[in-house]
């Protein structure tokens, strides 16, 4: 690796000249100080967003109350929050795992879309007659494979072309979007759709079982299972330790004999599989057919969730839930008070900007 020579000599002068705090001191503040800081990071974005709302002529307090009410006020709203959080949690894990190995995967969006495409294609053309107990697991594998394959392209470009995965995964998102468009307008289009671009609906036996009366489906425990697995993998296994070593200092990891490239490629492909699974869950759990917009923005929301959680899988559960709640509230506000759903994206970015401004992320 070329960075072997690069970071050799200047390290000493760097710490001497450029005054950056050493990591040891950065989080050594007392518990109280940390608490104050956490409070500041939580409150500042809310205040900034309130100012923004005032500026555009809406009363912030009413909006916040309405947001809380629409997400947590009744069983339906709460169910919707859970349903929205599920794909966000999976795409958040798809960002968090590679991030721990020093990779930034912004391709959740595209990996989810391709996972959904594979799932829909498989369910419509291949196993449409299968019973659920056999078909659903097969579709899960198919969807995960689709996402993994999409991530594998970025991984291959990194391995053989030395291309940065942040840029490739971002560009691949646009390619994925048009790939899905190509199929729902072409080979996968429902012949009975009167020219609307969507696939035929998948058979009922292949839909995920739901809790009666809600849209809550078994995708949720699956996502939680993967979050726990990711946590366990990272913090309790040798593999996870290696990943964190690669993320912490790739040069040291390489000198210690770890297969750095192989680990990074593996984790990127695994991340793609998680995002692809999110696409499968969207198709079989919620939508029932592929549309050009299936799962849109979930990839980016997952990215935000992961960075809010400082790439910790268990904290991702909390942040994915929070972002799910904000999304549901945003949709409700769009109907009730005419505040467009995009305002929630503004709120979410302000939250993440505050977190980024609050200092460097902690590292395990």
């Amino acid at each position: 690796m070329s960075n072997l020579q690069k970071s050799d000599p200047p390290l000493i002068t760097r710490t001497a000249v450029a005054p950056r705090a050493l990591p040891i001191f950065r989080h050594a503040g007392s518990g109280l100080r940390r608490l104050c800081r956490m409070a500041a990071v939580t409150v500042t974005p809310l205040v900034l967003f309130a100012l923004f709302l005032l500026l555009v002529g809406v009363r912030p307090f009413e909006i916040y109350v309405a947001m809380l009410r629409s997400s947590f006020g009744d069983a339906y709203g709460f169910g919707e929050v859970i349903v929205k959080s599920t794909p966000i949690l999976l795409t958040a894990l798809a960002t968090a795992l590679p991030a721990r190995a020093g990779l930034i995967n912004v391709g959740g969006e595209g990996q989810l879309a391709i996972g959904a495409l594979f799932t829909a294609a498989g369910a419509v053309y291949w196993i449409s007659e299968w019973p659920g107990w056999a078909g659903i697991p097969v579709l899960a594998v198919v969807g995960a494979f689709g996402g993994a394959m999409w991530a594998a392209i970025a991984a291959a470009l990194k391995q053989y072309g030395g291309m940065n995965e942040t840029i490739t995964t971002l560009l691949m998102n646009y390619v994925a979007l048009y790939t899905v468009g190509y199929f729902v307008h072409g080979a996968l289009k429902d012949p009975a759709s009167f020219n609307w671009p969507f696939s035929p609906s998948i058979s009922d036996s292949l839909r995920l079982p739901v809790v009666a009366g809600t849209r809550i489906h078994i995708g949720i425990p699956i996502a939680l299972f993967f979050a726990t697995m990711a946590w366990w993998l990272l913090s309790r296994t040798r593999f996870g330790f290696h990943l964190r070593a690669v993320g912490g200092n790739p040069v040291a990891a390489e000198l210690a004999g770890l297969p750095v490239t192989r680990l990074q490629i593996g984790v990127l492909i695994a991340a793609g599989a998680l995002a692809g699974l999110a696409g499968m869950i969207e198709i079989t759990g919620i939508e029932g057919r592929l549309r050009p917009t299936t799962g849109a923005t979930y990839g980016y929301l997952g990215f935000l969730a992961a960075w809010m959680a400082r790439n910790d899988p268990l904290r991702c559960v909390g942040t994915a839930f929070l972002i799910g709640a904000i999304t549901v509230a945003g949709n409700a506000l769009e109907i009730s008070s005419g505040l467009p759903a995009s305002s929630m994206h503004i709120l979410l970015s302000i939250v993440l900007l505050a977190i980024l401004a609050s200092g460097r992320r902690e590292r395990a």
């Binding site: 053989y160 560009l171 646009y174 790939t179 468009g181 190509y182 993320g247 993440l352």
Partner: protein
């Protein structure tokens, strides 16, 4: 057909050219700014809005540039002064820009502007073959012909350029000479944001004459990728931007001729092409990345 294609390449490549010239300045100072996408879309809306209000596209270009600069200053603040991860911060600024423009752009969706229109340069535009390709464009395109040599000149032939490049290579050298690397980086990022904003204006006020939510469609990301493809050299940026524009105009040319190709394959072509040329260039050689920037890419998740 070739002439039509190349004219289209310049028409749709110019916005990317502005953005990648801006991104190049920032990256030469050691900061990668994926928020270029956000700066572009902010510029596209800001410039469009100012043009609608004042009727003057030049004020629009200025306004759009300022919007881009403002958004990029968020990135500069986080990255340079708060030590945030450059890639994550850039992406967040990109989401921020997309969210803000989606919010404020609603009332402009159906608006239309006179904007910039193609002006044929007397004499030059009558040159055989290259005249129609190069000299029948909007004023912002002509400005970009001057911009690229200007960026090259400033970066490689002036004191400011040397200090800026030194900041991207060895910040402690700049520091020991009594300059503040942080101030220089901030300046570079904000200048880059201004140019990306102007690129957005070219898109909305000169190219499409309309505002559409998320209309930059990844051009800012492409611009960042093209800087790598260009090995941090301004003139190669120009080539890259026109290559992207060429792929875009191929779509229009083929469609206007009724060719039987799925539009979706043509839509994805510019992105695939960008990935492909980047792959070929990176494979052929280890490109000369500014050293401080190399640390962002190879360090632990950047930063």
């Amino acid at each position: 057909m070739i002439g039509e294609l190349l004219t289209g390449a310049i028409r749709s490549g110019t916005s990317v050219l502005y953005a990648s010239a801006g991104e190049l300045i920032a990256e030469r100072a050691g900061v990668i700014n994926l928020g270029t996408e956000g700066a572009m879309v902010a510029g596209a809306l800001g410039g469009f809005a100012v043009t609608v209000w004042t009727g003057n596209p030049w004020l629009g270009a200025l306004g759009g540039g300022i919007c881009g600069a403002l958004l990029s200053s968020v990135h500069a603040l986080l990255v340079v002064w708060r030590g945030a991860n450059q890639l994550a911060s850039g992406l967040t600024v990109m989401f921020f820009g997309l969210g803000l423009t989606a919010f404020f752009g609603r009332s402009f969706v159906s608006a239309s502007v006179e904007g910039f229109n193609p002006v044929a340069i007397p004499g030059l535009s009558n040159l055989p073959w290259i005249g129609p390709i190069l000299f029948r464009h909007d004023p912002l395109t002509y400005l970009s012909y001057i911009l690229v040599p200007a960026v090259w000149f400033v970066l490689s032939r002036t004191r400011l350029g040397i200090v800026l490049r030194a900041t991207g290579e060895r910040e402690e050298v700049v520091f020991s000479q009594g300059f503040s690397p942080r101030l220089i980086r901030t300046f570079a990022v904000i200048t880059g944001g201004f140019l990306a904003g102007v690129g957005g204006v070219q898109l909305s006020v000169a190219f499409t004459h309309a505002w559409v939510e998320g209309m930059t469609a990844g051009r800012g990301i492409v611009a960042a990728a093209l800087v790598i493809f260009a090995a941090w050299k301004p003139f190669r940026c120009m080539a890259g931007a026109y290559l992207f524009g060429c792929a875009q105009s191929l779509q229009l040319v083929l469609q206007s001729r009724g060719a039987d190709v799925s539009p979706f394959l043509l839509f994805m072509l510019p992105y695939v092409l960008t990935l492909a040329v980047l792959f070929l260039v990176e494979r052929r050689r280890q490109s000369r990345i500014p050293e401080e920037l190399g640390r962002v890419f190879s360090g632990p998740g950047g930063g």
